[in-house]
């Protein structure tokens, strides 16, 4: 059940997106988050949407998986767009009691929907095409300057990659514990919210105990494999910037430029 979620998964491959430098991808993703919230008219919104679609196509991953990751947030999207639809300002186009729809409300709803959808798609594209190791490696390298102030960069990156590694394992474990508790007559599907939350306790306690035991085992196994912190470590997969990355940067820069130009010269809708 829980394992059906595709958001955050990695699909090995050799597409142009897979081959980009993970550091570059990360920076581009952050730039993208900023830019998507700086779109104030339909042209710039269109530019960012086109930018998203371009990268999705380049990732060469079946649209099926992108739809799957959208499915998870569909309720959030509907809820926020409805909320925005009815809370617009200006002259009402349609009114019924306290509910009223304005041009501004419609615009807001469209913008918030496109923004959230693009954000989730871009995020999925990043994790689909970047292995957790590459991602944490990129974070480690990007945060390297923080070492000067004694920030434990390597440790944080290692913790993140281990956490990502154990997500599926712990999900599997949760399923097993749930099955075991159900076999003993635990009821998790009836009663009010309070009762259901309470019914989770016999699942969470064994899960935590086993997670701690696992952590101890993992630490032992890591020590057996000569792990002794970040000092003196090398990486098998070297990451370096290539012409491809430069091209991606140029596309991103053009998008940012386009959005800024649109914001200056065209009328704001929001």
């Amino acid at each position: 059940m829980v394992r059906d979620v595709s958001f955050g998964q990695y699909f090995p491959g050799k597409s142009p997106m897979h081959r980009l430098d993970p550091r570059g991808k990360l920076i581009m993703f952050i730039a993208f988050i900023v830019i998507i919230f700086c779109t104030f008219n339909y042209v710039s919104l269109g530019i960012t949407a086109a930018f998203t679609v371009l990268f999705l196509v380049l990732s060469q991953i079946s649209p099926k998986f992108y739809f799957k990751s959208l499915k998870v947030i569909i309720f959030i999207v509907i809820f926020t767009s409805l909320l925005n639809l009815f809370y617009g300002s200006g002259e009402p186009l349609w009114q019924w009691g306290i509910l009223r729809i304005t041009v501004n409300g419609i615009n807001r709803a469209v913008f918030v929907t496109v923004r959230i959808v693009c954000l989730i798609l871009a995020g999925s594209c990043l994790t689909f095409t970047t292995s957790p190791t590459e991602l944490t490696d990129a974070i480690e390298r990007l945060m390297k300057p923080l070492k000067v102030i004694r920030f434990p960069v390597h440790e944080i990156a290692m913790m993140m990659s281990l956490a990502l590694r154990f997500v599926p394992t712990l999900l599997e474990e949760t399923d097993k514990i749930m099955a075991a508790q159900k076999a003993r007559g635990a009821d998790m599907e009836s009663g009010n919210l309070f009762k259901r939350v309470k019914a989770l306790i016999p699942i969470l306690i064994p899960l935590f105990v086993s997670a701690f035991r696992r952590a101890y085992d993992v630490a032992t196994a890591m020590e057996c494999r000569c792990y002794r912190g970040g000092a003196g470590r090398t990486r098998m997969k070297q990451i370096h910037l290539s012409a491809r990355d430069v091209a991606a940067f140029i596309v991103t820069a053009l998008t940012i430029g386009g959005v800024i130009v649109c914001n200056i010269f065209l009328k704001r809708v929001l």
């Binding site: 957790p132 990659s161 993992v218 196994a221 098998m236």
Partner: protein, 279 residues
Amino acid sequence: MSFISIENVSFSYDEENPAASKAVDGVSMEIEAGEFVAVIGHNGCGKSTLAKHLNAMLLPDSGRVVVDGDDTAEEEKTFDIREKVGLVLQNPDNQLVASIVEEDVAFGPENLGVPPEEIRQRVDEALKAVDMYDYREHAPYKLSGGQKQRVAIAGILAIRPQCIVLDEPTAMLDPSGREEVISTLLKLNRERKMTVVLITHYMDEAVLADRVVVMDSGKVLTQGTPEEVFAQVELLKKHRLDVPQSAELIYRLRGCGLQIDKIPLTQDDCVALLEEAIK
């Protein structure tokens, strides 16, 4: 001098009262380079504790462990020793630290500071040695238990140790997974002359070793070739240890008055012996 020598080692997990509950109690044994040694015994007999002494994960309270001339108690030698003696644990899930098979296998050499091109070589070689090369880009959680354990073995092989110690590597596997792991170990030992120390409670795995060490309550009960050890059916039974099925059968037939001197270890040997006896 032998590759690993364990000299009168004692160890207790109870720090306040170490004399009362010794997990390992005065064990001495030698492990030669290229040997395949099986250590058998009940749960809690001290065999896993002993395994952790071989790569300096645990240090003896008294006595010493010498690996290739280095005492494990010398702190600056710890990582040299772990490079020479790799330890594979029971639960394959908890030994895999990366989300992609090949990245996991690379973890050991990365820790040693091996240059990237050489890591790639070592990873490919290790994965081929355990027949998991085709799975190099898979996610570990999608593999079967036997496959995961073979990846864990590859992770140790990539460190290029001289000796590999396995602490009940098949305990959590199904029969086909067990078979995969054991045949991998045999291959490593026969073809690459790798020293293998296999800790197990499956007697039919122990039979495959050059030498079997039987442990009980922290002490070495008996050791020798599988033939020598499993011939002592009565001693093993007294300590509630199993013997291989064919040995058990012949032992019982002897009790019924059948004249057979040899104790067979495999089914084929057993059939041959019985055939002879019936004639």
